[in-house]
Every structure is written in structure tokens, then in C-alpha cells.
């Protein structure tokens, strides 16, 4: 087991290097750079631009250099000093800006993942054991709709009803006075009060998919001889169910946790933009449109790195819960 984990961790390194390259190159794709879009903004506002000042800035940020040189500079900065570059728009180091947002994104995605499973598994098990009953049909329809309704649309609908019917303002993760406050108990409580709406919205799609997966897998398992054997030996139905077939049916949850995480991060991006949460989504969108390249590149890199790590953890979990999985692969 230890050897397997070590091998997988080593394999992650080239993946991360590749991701960092792709992040950097895609960020460079738009024609022009931050300074051209900055100058354009100034021009539309009717302000005069000093060409020397722009040239000076370009020199300072190293924007005139070829891409690979900029990339090497960026990566060496990260590895040697933990320096993710300078955000040009915010005039602050990227490292300072992102951690809180990245943390919130991760917490939001992970909590939604677990909440989704927590709801999906019992419902899926019930649906499978009561196949073709009315609750089964109802749950099937609901889960189909859950898969079909995009999260951001759901967020808009929730926002509308919360505001008009309940008089709630659901935007943001914090009340106004806590946004820039340092973390303390009150801020945490305040966050939890805002947290549940985006969390529920985000977990809907995963829950719907989870119900269908659990139901389908469990139905396959229930026909197998070992289930019959367990019944024949006199186990109560409930005990038999939870002890054997359910465990096997839950495998895909572990094996796809990496992709679910990637999906959740994607979904969270959209929902955060709609609900203006203090997560990575809105800031990345802003950074992309203003071509604030180090900030945008770092976001893309770190979000991808998170899902790579998530996949690794899921593989380890899978090897742990299912001894049939061979470790050589």
C-alpha cells in the first residue's frame, strides 16, 4: 500500500508540471496583455496615457519577454519563494489574494459532495429495494429533473424566491460587516448562515446523479447469489442489505470522486458568480476579462491541482475499501 501511494504521488509531479504549462499558455492566448486592455480602458474613460509609463510597466512585469521565459520565471518564483506573481489589477501579490477564496471554494465543493452523498445513498437504496413503487417513480422523476436543471439557473430561481417571498438577501457568503474582517467566531457563524443555500444548490446535481447510480448498482447486486446466501443464513433484510450489497454498490462513489470534485468546482464557479460568493469564481472571471494573467493562471492551475489530488485520494480510498482492486494499475 505504501509503495502504491508513493508511486502515485511521484506520478503526480509530471501531471502538475503539465497542468502549470497549460494554465500558463492558455492564459497567454488572448491577443494583447493586461497593459493593452488597461490602456484601452483608460482611453475609453477619456484619460491620457503616457506611452513611457506603459512601457515601463511592461518592462517591470516582464511582459515583453517570450512566453517560455515568463513561464520559467513564474515557476521558479513559485518553487523557490512560494511567489505566485503579482496581480496587476489588484496591485498585490497573487498569493495574498487567493488562499481564502480557494479555501472557501474547496470547503463549498467538499461539503456539497458529502451532503449530496448523504442524501443520495439512503434514497437510492430505498428506490432499489422498492423498485417500481410509487416513491421510486417519484424519486426517479425528481432525480431526472435534478440532472437537467443547471445549477446556475437553480441559483437564480432560489435568489428570486428568497428575495421576493422571504425577503432574504442570499448573495454573498458573509454579511457586509464581516467581508473584510479577520476570521473569528462571529464571522464563522455568519458564514454558516449564508453557506447552506449555495451548498444545497450545488449538491442538487450530485444528489440526483447519486440516486440514479446507487439505484442502478444496487439493483445489479441484489440479484447476485451472495445476497441469496446471506438471506438463507437468516440475516435480517436490513442487516444483509447494509452489510453486503450496499457496500459494493457504493464503489463508483469512490472511484469517481475525482471527477465529481472537478464537476463541483466547475459548478461552484457558476453558482458563485450568480450569488456573488467570495470564492474563486467571480475573481477568476474578473481576472480573465481584464487579462490579469498571473491571477487567472494561478486559479486555473490550483483548481486543476486540487482535482488531481482529489483523484489521488479517491484512488487510495478505493483501493482501501475494495480489496479486489489491483494496485499495479
Amino acid at each position: 500500500m505504501f509503495g502504491y501511494i508513493m508511486r502515485r504521488v511521484l506520478l503526480m509531479i509530471p501531471t502538475l508540471i503539465l497542468i502549470s504549462m497549460i494554465s500558463f499558455v492558455t492564459i497567454q492566448l488572448p491577443p494583447g496583455d493586461y497593459l493593452t486592455s488597461y490602456a484601452a480602458t483608460l482611453r475609453t474613460q477619456g484619460e491620457s496615457i503616457q506611452e513611457e509609463a506603459i512601457a515601463q510597466l511592461r518592462d517591470r512585469y516582464g511582459l515583453g519577454q517570450p512566453v517560455y521565459q515568463q513561464y520559467i520565471k513564474w515557476v521558479t518564483g513559485i518553487i523557490t519563494k512560494g511567489d505566485w506573481g503579482q496581480s496587476m489589477e489588484w496591485q498585490r501579490p497573487v498569493g495574498e489574494l487567493i488562499w481564502e477564496r480557494l479555501g472557501l471554494t474547496l470547503v463549498l465543493s467538499l461539503v456539497s459532495l458529502f451532503v449530496g452523498w448523504f442524501i443520495a445513498i439512503p434514497i437510492g437504496v430505498y428506490s432499489a429495494t422498492h423498485q417500481y413503487s410509487i416513491p421510486d417513480y417519484v424519486m426517479s422523476v425528481i432525480s431526472f429533473i435534478g440532472v437537467g436543471v443547471p445549477g446556475f439557473l437553480l441559483a437564480l430561481i432560489v435568489m428570486y424566491f428568497a428575495q421576493t417571498r422571504l425577503g432574504l438577501n442570499v448573495g454573498g457568503l458573509f454579511s457586509e460587516k464581516y467581508i473584510n474582517a479577520p476570521w473569528d467566531w462571529n464571522k464563522l457563524v455568519d458564514m454558516l448562515r449564508h453557506f447552506w443555500i449555495p451548498m444545497l444548490i450545488l449538491s442538487v446535481e450530485g444528489t440526483a446523479g447519486g440516486i440514479r447510480t446507487t439505484r442502478a448498482n444496487l439493483l445489479d447486486e441484489l440479484n447476485k447469489p451472495y445476497v441469496e446466501l446471506a438471506r438463507a443464513k437468516g440475516l435480517t433484510e436490513q442487516r444483509m442489505l447494509w452489510k453486503y450489497p450496499v457496500r459494493v454498490a457504493l464503489n463508483p462513489f469512490f472511484s469517481t470522486v475525482g471527477w465529481s470534485l472537478a464537476n463541483l468546482v466547475s459548478g461552484a464557479t457558476l453558482i458563485s458568480v450568480v450569488l456573488s460568493l467570495q470564492t474563486t469564481g467571480p475573481m477568476q472571471l474578473r481576472a480573465l476579462t481584464s487579462q490579469d494573467m498571473y491571477l487567472a493562471g494561478t486559479f486555473l492551475f490550483l483548481l486543476s491541482a486540487l482535482t488531481v489530488i482529489g483523484t489521488l485520494i479517491s484512488d487510495i480510498l478505493l483501493a482501501w475499501v475494495d480489496p479486489r482492486i489491483r494496485l499495479e494499475a
Partner: protein
Amino acid sequence: MADVDRTRPANEVPAAEEEIESGGEQVYVAPPWKLMWWRFRKHKMALISSVVLILFYFVAVFTEFVAPYDPDQNMLQFKQVPPTAMHIRDVEGQFHFAFVYQHVRTMDPQTFQITVKEDMSARYPIQFFVHGFTYKLLGLWQTDVHLFGIPSAKDQQGVFLFGTDRLGRDVFSRICYGARLSLSLGLVSVFLSLALGVVLGGISGYRGGAVDTLIQRVIEFIRTIPTIPLWMTLSAALPADWPVVRVYFGISVILSLVGWTWMARVVRGRFLSMREEDFVLAARLNGSGEMRIILRHMLPSFLSYIIANLTLSIPNMILSETALSFLGLGLRPPAISWGVLLQEAMNVRSLMLSPWVLTPGFAVVIAVLAFNFMGDGLRDAADPYAR
């Protein structure tokens, strides 16, 4: 097979079984497409969904005919009008074909909330094939006939099925126009990813070995990058001054850059399982070349399967386009797609005063669900010989 579909149990017997069994002699002589149709017919939701999709694509093709108003026309006297109520019974209790009453608008000076009252004295019947703005049907015939409307002077009363937006544009007409871009973009992207997926997945599955390993690694790698942030980054790279058509193809390419991995896995799985089949061996022993085996023997036998999977991946493309355009990174106004229309809902004021700007979202949901159900039915029907 590599890509086991985990959302369906293997023992859920497709319903067509009994009919095929009870069909007697007929079954043994029926060509494959007939067996497929029998099985597909049994899946009621899939059948209904197909009808819905045919309707949607009809609207997408004959947009100008179905839409009662010019989607870009700002009818300033009809700003943020709620959906027009249709009646079939008038104040005297008499029944008519659907009609609308004259609306009287009042605006609350404080909240700008518009309230509409119906003036029961003036009645406008809904008529079919009325004259409206002129257009070229299919780009060929100039005409001004529209599917429905009311025969009134334009500035008196309109029929707005889903209300109007901030600028007084008819939301229903805009949804019709949006269907054109949104529904076709899904198809275009799916075919692009099909092309990539079949070629790469085919090579991967047929050749195996080092090529297979390499392609599988690439697929795994692409799948670990969260798609929305990646798509956001890529579409931010599309220059803002590009014409609509070019952005449209740019977006489809971007969507298929990620979409092909899924297709490739499906194709590879099929190739792997089919490579060992007897008929492939027979073809090889008969001296068929590699290309002939693939194109002539293998491809036809999993074509239906591919089509079913294609149908299932269209909704993702539609959802992604909507999401990107919604964020302002995909298609941009003046282009009209469902995502672009939903941008209107991003404006909180607009959403609160006129919640009907969300209706394009429901068009998306219906299209997505319909594709899902139809794909489900097609998948059941795809292999009519399976028991």
C-alpha cells in the same frame, strides 16, 4: 468494456422484449432498424421527448415564422410587460377561441414595478397566419406571414407569451431565435467531438499497446481539469471583436476539446470488445485490409450505439454553451442564444421586476431533459439483439 454505464442496472429489461417475443414469425425476418424501432417505441418518455425535440428543431428552422415579433425590436411602450394572459371565456360567459384583453399599464412611481390591468371592453382574438414583420423564409422566400398574432395596430396591444424584457423585446420571439444558435451549437460541437473521439478512440482501441496507453493518459489528464474554469479561460481568449459566426465556431471547438474524451472512451470500449468477435476474425482470415475491417464490418455494428451516446452528450454541450454565454464569455449580444438571454437575469433588478426573463432557462431544461430521455430510449434500442 471500459465504460460501463453506471446509471442503469443490467437487469432492468427493456420493455420491448415481450413484443419481440410475442411477435411470432415476424421477429425472425425483421431487419435491425425495425427491431430498433419496436424497442424504441416501448420507451414512452423517449417517444414523447422525440416529439418535443422535433418541435424545438422545427422552431429553430422556421424561427421567423413562429416568432410573432422581431427579436431586436424595442417596443418602448411595452417595457417589462408580464406574460399576456390568454382567455377563452369573456365577461358575459361566452366562449371564444383564445383571445387577449386590452392591457392598461400603470407604474408604481416608487418601485418602478409595473402592474397590468385588463380592460375587459376591448377584445383581441388570437389569429393564425397573421401579417407581421417581413423576413425571408429559409433565406429564400420573402414573406410576412407569422404563425400567430393579434390583428391590431402594433402600439395598442401585443401578445407576449413570455412577457417582454427591459428594452421591450418579446421574450418568446427571442427564445425562438435563441433556439437556432443554442440547439445547433450543441449538434456542431457534438459532431466535432465525435470526429475527434472516433479517430482517437478508434486508434486507441484497435491498436492497443503504447498508443493506447498514451491516449488514455491524455484523456485522464484532460478530465482532471475542471471544465468550466478551463472553458472560461479558453473562451476569454476569443477576441471580443470577432463576428458572431466565428465566435460560434470558436465556442464549438472549445467545447469539443473536452467533449471528445468521453466519446473516445465509448468508441475504445466498443473496439476492444469487438476486436475479439468471430466476424472480425473471419473478415481478417478472408484477407480484408484493416481499413475495410473497421469501416465495413466494425463501424456498422456499433453505429447505433454511437448515435445513442451522441444524443446523450448533446445536453452537456447545450448546458455548457448556456453557461459560457451566461458568464459573458461565449456568444455575445447582438447574437441571441439561450445563454445570452439568461444574462438578462444576472441583472438583479431586472430579475426582481420581471422574473419571466428566466423562461429561456426552462427552454434549456426541457431541451436537456428531452435529449436525455431520447438518448436513454435510443440506447435501449441500439442493440436489438441483446437479451
